[in-house]
């Protein structure tokens, strides 16, 4: 009998052992998986999310949008166009190679080659290696966004990516539409190593044993990332315990996730502004600022956030979200139907006119419903809207053609800076500089452009903020575009994972720092 009990206990111990030493695994479900392992192939949220897991940037954003040193330990301005960075010592790549300033130089050169990233680095001329642990980042003119841009420099393992593959291709080449070494192989300094990847099905990350950041309390050994495209399925997977962390949570399921037991909802105001542009080249009336103001007064954007977005957005009256230099809290959303009608009458359009409107139906949260709401709101001031919505794949070519009188566009500033909104959305369209590339309204105000250019050469944040706020003020006064709201961000997480500590408004969860409570 005792022998039986003893063997039973032994068997139990053996059976229990793997459980007791079980590694901490977090199963993550996003709506899409990264298109490539190459961090420079496509500038997208998915790529940057991956970069923050497998690589480390020189500096990164904290939750309150401050800079946090990562691979760059410190930095100082040497002269007007040079920033000197000191690298952290003792950092190794997944391949075992040590990180040096040469890797940063190599990575910078590669970024300048990348179709997607080179625009961000347009003002930067060179990285000069001073010694193994020091380098200078140089700009052509004094540039206020050096650190902003340094968040995009994720040093790559230059030795690993140099040379040729077995079939004679350059291991460092960036290939957009085809196979390349870098799109399938990766060596970074980040907290996780990609150990398995089946595109569109799953990516498995294992914690990198030699990770430099031992001060971080992050204790996740393994992450399994699965794309789950359908919103209801993604939510169901979280609620049923099949996954531990999901993003995004669709507005319709916010309450369900918030109320569910054992699951937390984490939300945060986002930085993507949703807007409508009024094409002045197509509609004579839109050249009159009073008509544009009337439209802004007629659109009840608070109502849209409340009814259509179910509170899942922040009502906007300008492009810059709170926290950005250009954000001016004095600019309040306007909605006043009587005023709108009066402005229309004043401009000589009391009887209104007819316009066409286009919006995507699968790009932004509830985009088609928002467009329908705006169209019916404009009917109140006698503007008859012929609305057409379409999938994003068809929408962007039509947007490029400026095919409708009013078109929807959402924008997130790649530099996390106010000037970027104006540069792409409301600056005078100019093929040579690329300004106003997404300005389907053809709004053009040289004064506003001059302010933007001055701000982009001003390195004093206080003066810069003043200029950018003045710029937002001009766009508001002239109703250059119709701001609707900033989309909020939402994540769903199993309770006890401290997920709220690793998310941020940029939507790059820092999984390396995730501390999962393992219980006893």
């Amino acid at each position: 009998m005792t022998k039986f009990v003893r063997s039973l206990a032994a068997a139990a111990a053996v059976a229990m052992a793997p459980v007791a030493y079980a590694e901490t695994t977090v199963r993550v479900a996003y709506d899409a998986d990264p298109v490539s392992l190459d961090p420079h192939e496509q500038l997208s949220g998915g790529t940057l999310q991956l970069s923050h897991m497998v690589f480390d940037p020189l500096v990164r954003w904290t939750q309150d949008l401050q800079f946090e040193p990562r691979l760059a330990e410190s930095w100082e301005q040497i002269d007007a166009t040079t920033m000197r960075f000191k690298l952290r010592s003792g950092v190794t790549f997944h391949s075992g190679n040590a990180l040096t300033a040469k890797d940063v130089d190599w990575t910078f050169d590669r970024l300048k080659e990348s179709d997607d990233f080179k625009a961000i680095f347009a003002q930067f001329t060179d990285v000069e290696v001073v010694d193994d642990m020091t380098f200078d980042l140089k700009t052509s003119e004094p540039y206020p966004l050096v650190l902003h841009t340094a968040t995009y420099i994720f040093p790559m393992d230059s030795a690993f990516y140099s040379g040729t593959t077995d079939d004679g291709k350059d291991r460092g080449e960036i290939v957009k539409h085809g196979d390349s070494f870098a799109s399938r192989n990766v060596s970074g300094t980040g907290p996780f190593v990609v150990s398995e990847r089946e595109q569109g099905v799953r990516v498995v990350f294992d914690r990198y044993d030699g990770y430099w950041d031992t001060a971080s309390g992050g204790n996740v050994d393994k992450i399994v990332l699965t794309p789950i495209k359908e919103d209801p399925t993604r939510v169901a997977a979280l609620l049923s315990g099949d996954v531990d962390f999901i993003a995004p949570v669709p507005p319709t399921d916010l309450k369900r996730v918030a109320d569910a037991e054992g699951v937390d909802l984490i939300t945060m105001p986002g930085t993507r502004i949703i807007t409508f542009q009024m094409n002045q080249n197509r509609v004579e009336a839109f050249k009159d600022a009073r008509v544009r103001q009337a439209i802004d007064y007629a659109v009840n954007n608070a109502g849209i956030v409340d009814r259509i977005m179910r509170g899942f957005g922040t009502v906007g009256a300008q492009a810059s979200p709170a926290g950005y230099l250009g954000y001016d809290e004095a600019l309040a959303p306007r909605f006043d139907l009587e005023k709108a009608k009066a402005l229309m009458a004043e401009a000589g359009y009391a009887d209104g006119f007819s316009i066409t409107m286009m919006a995507p139906n699968n790009r932004y949260v509830n985009d088609d419903k928002i467009a329908q709401a705006v169209a019916s709101m404009l009917a109140q001031i006698n503007i008859k809207v012929d609305l057409q919505t379409m999938p994003k794949a068809q929408y962007w070519p039509t947007f490029d053609e400026r095919a409708a009188d009013m078109m929807m566009i959402g924008w997130h500033s790649d530099t996390e800076d106010s000037a970027n909104f104006h540069q792409f959305l409301t600056a005078c369209p100019d093929d040579a500089t690329g300004n106003g590339q997404y300005n389907s309204g053809n709004y053009c105000n040289p004064e506003a452009d001059a302010l933007m250019n001055a701000a982009n050469a001003e390195t004093d944040p206080a003066k810069r903020g003043e200029m950018l706020q003045k710029l937002e003020g001009i766009l508001y006064e002239e109703a250059a575009f119709i701001p609707l709201h900033w989309q909020n961000l939402a994540w769903g997480s199993k309770s006890g994972m401290n997920s709220a500590d690793i998310v941020n408004a940029l939507n790059f969860p820092y999984f390396g720092d995730l501390i999962v409570e393992t219980g006893s």
């Binding site: 500038l43 196979d179 799109s183 699965t226 399925t233 099949d242 929408y395 792409f424």
Partner: protein, 326 residues
Amino acid sequence: MFAYLAKRVIQAVAVMFVISLIAFAIQGNLGDPLRELVGQSVSEEVRQQLRDEMGLNDSFVTQYLRFAGNALQGDLGTSYFFKEPALDVILKKLPATLELVFGATLIIVGLSVPLGVYTAIKPDSILSRIIMGLSIVGISIPVFLTAILMIFVFSVEYGWLPSYGRGETVQVWGYWQTNFATADGWLHIILPSIALASIMLPLFVRLIRAEMMEVLQSEYVKYAKAKGINPWRIYFVHALKNTLLPVITVGGVQIGTMVAYTILTETVFQWPGMGFMFLEAVNRVDTPLIVAYLIVVGFIFVVTNTIVDLIYGLVNPTVNIARMGA
């Protein structure tokens, strides 16, 4: 027989040629693949340059001839997203879809015959009425709704079955990984199979019931009854066999349709098969993959219909396959 098969092969080639032409013609309306490949702030100049590199600025005829030339050598183009030959991508996804269709077929065959026969024999019983009522419901509810409903009941509320994906699969051969080798795999395939079967099952129950009722009125069944043959033998051997011909015809066509329905089922369950892949490819404007998918599905249709014709001959000896080739 040989002439028949040869004719079928020529037919298949013709069908695939027409499909590829149609697929190529519509691709211009699907959107701009470049938008999915580059970030928002990439300049128009760079995009045009990429478009030139990819040959998207060539004329329709040039593009089609280039495609057809490569296709004759077995190259259907390279997927923009997967960065692999489109045919390889599809072949990798095919087993997951075929297993799903197989699971659904098991359910349909296993349930439709007994249910169809029962409702035909006892049309007035309460159970028959319930079955017929449910079959109306099953036909009327769209697949994705059934699927989401089942996920919320069986995964979220009760937690009995997993909500998405294939779970643990076992490598069998080549690209083929199977769900049927592990308990976890079985659990994962149950809900998607039922969802996929939910549209077809009622159709087959009703079809078998209608055919069966007709056969039960026939002279030979009455004669068999008069002879005192065991009723079960009459129903399942003599009567059922004669209801099968139309069932097989419809079944053959429906298996092809089922491949189409996998698009919805796979999307809801995040099932990594080619239906889900196709929908994603449309969203991403991955034109080489879209064209290749349509050609492969066309091929599957031709193959299943050929097999159905061959089975015809086995079930009903009066159908002469050899003569059909003439």
